[in-house]
Point group: C2
Chain length 107, copies 2
């Protein structure tokens, strides 16, 4: 999306934006939901489940990994992805606290 002037914003603002951005795509939402439903990890059943090409899924997984929301464990030829619960909760807390703080200031 064009150049974002990250320099003029503080770390918190930039980090919040990055987390929101990683989640701002329906494919990535679907991937997260699917991975979580498999309880255990899964691999590129994701490709079959979601209707996108394998490279596309792989790229989305990479973005989810970039903020450590999921982890990929190599098992032979396959890679099993699962939600990183610790980071998941941390992100949830961070976003939630943004909502709370803003709400408190407001009215």
């Amino acid at each position: 999306m064009g150049i974002t002037k990250t320099q003029i914003f503080n770390t918190e603002q930039n980090e919040l934006a990055i987390m929101f951005k990683v989640l701002s795509n329906p494919a990535r939402i679907a991937i997260l939901q699917y991975i979580s439903q498999q309880n255990a990890c899964i691999c590129n059943d994701i490709v079959d489940e979601i209707g996108l090409a394998q490279p596309t899924i792989s790229q989305h997984l990479k973005e989810l990994k970039s903020i450590d929301l999921i982890r990929g464990e190599i098992e032979g030829k396959k890679v099993c992805y699962c939600i990183n619960l610790k980071q998941w909760t941390a992100v949830q807390t961070l976003l939630n606290s943004f909502f709370e703080t803003t709400k408190d200031n407001c009215c």
Copy 2:
């Protein structure tokens, strides 16, 4: 961002993605924080506060309005923006419930 294949995802997934997307920019985060801190509404002090050109701010405000997160009240020449608390809370609940549901399924 290139074409997103929204057709292959369900309404919930697409709506979540849209909300995350609106919040996925540090300028919009900063605008929301600033508006909320002013307690009452403010106008284009936002332009002075944030270091971006007036058209850019105007565009960001439009995107925030698109999901009804803020409201602009016209007061003569000026427009006073404020957080729409009802929608703010609704979005918070929706996102939070996404985090919770996914977490519950997971482990």
